[in-house]
Symmetry: C2
Amino acid sequence: MHHAFEVDESWMREEGASTAEWLTERPSPSRILQRDECLYCMGAAAEGVHEVVTGVLKSVVVHPDGREQVVGFHVPGDIVGYDALVQSTRSCSVVALDTAGVRSLPPVCLGRQGAETAALADIVTGLFRDLQRLTDQIYLERATTRQRVAAFLLHQARDLARQGCSERELVLPMNRRDLACFLGLAPETLCRALSVLRRRRLIGVERNVIHIRDSAGLQAEAAGNE
Amino acid sequence: MHHAFEVDESWMREEGASTAEWLTERPSPSRILQRDECLYCMGAAAEGVHEVVTGVLKSVVVHPDGREQVVGFHVPGDIVGYDALVQSTRSCSVVALDTAGVRSLPPVCLGRQGAETAALADIVTGLFRDLQRLTDQIYLERATTRQRVAAFLLHQARDLARQGCSERELVLPMNRRDLACFLGLAPETLCRALSVLRRRRLIGVERNVIHIRDSAGLQAEAAGNE
DNA sequence: CGACAAATTGAGTGTTTTCAACGATCGTGG
DNA sequence: CCACGATCGTTGAAAACACTCAATTTGTCG
């Protein structure tokens, strides 16, 4: 498979004002979650929408055959729980990867006339962002392992840089298993890909800390130019 | 030509007529598209949201390298063009697979106060449905070829049944290449998978007409029980 | 230190892709 | 009406790729 796709801004999450905005002022969490604690569980009654304030969470879907799929990771500023707006039960579980803080957003009733249109606009924007992210992810699903991993690392670095962290020294908040599950790989395959990138001097790997040594090389890798 | 199985000749009706006997009355299209004609193109100015009235369209993302990804198919009743609500340029192209009719929906301004909340609610619902469909698709991406194909056929059958067509005799509106692209497979792989399902007596394949002979067997196949 | 889990590496297996060839279908023009 | 070419669909064989299973190393915590 030789998908030579560019890693340009287009597949990154929608940028925008939310970036600088939450850097400066961040609301205080109304609830603190411990590691592996559920914000809510699949199948439970859906009540309300939440914003991630600190920490990282994952959305997990458990399929009838028992396989679990990590649908996405959520960093501060992200909104989770849209399903509450449309249906009565949760369609996925949201779990804290580590200690994390979230806050509840004011309830919005879709059916009622005169509902807060501003809130609805935010929701539409957030949903659309998720939609694009999923589309991008589907494209990544069809790339080779190394492309996927390289693209993910660049994406992550970009994300962290926006939050003021170094863009060369990125700390993965999730373990290999979760990351592999998210990327749709076997943990061993992910590990091998990281090893290859390390051997090629593109990155340094120190457990959960990835050091990006050759950003351009990584982009070439993500684009399929080997 | 010898039919290896009973073929209901009703599918001989022209393509757009697959939805001819719709239960409720449907709005009249404001625009007719010919085969391979673009409703709108990726990168173009995004203006307005459309509803599919007749025929089938596909959403296509063309990547910098020229490769194209079929993001989804749209049947009558579907809404396309949500990106106009959020951004100024189209993020994908929408192309008619065959003659198709669409109508423009009344414009909705996200920012304005007192906007039509009913319309917004519809939009949120539609977006959320797309989101779930993409989540399902990502799950399918990680399944084997036969699972993917079986699941797609069942999904398609269910869709058509909702429109009053036979749920055993389904007409694929897209060619193998588009379908393979949508499923993330090589056309040859898709073809082989169909042949396997046919050899197992789960389906009959006659060009673009798929006859579902063993729905339960197909479901087992889709679930991974072989 | 020792036990346990996570991460890494190796070898073998299975699936999908690629490349190539062939048959069928359809539209066009002679 | 038929021949022709173009496209699509199908099948075969070989290669590339990721997965599974197993063993080893590394890191963490009691």
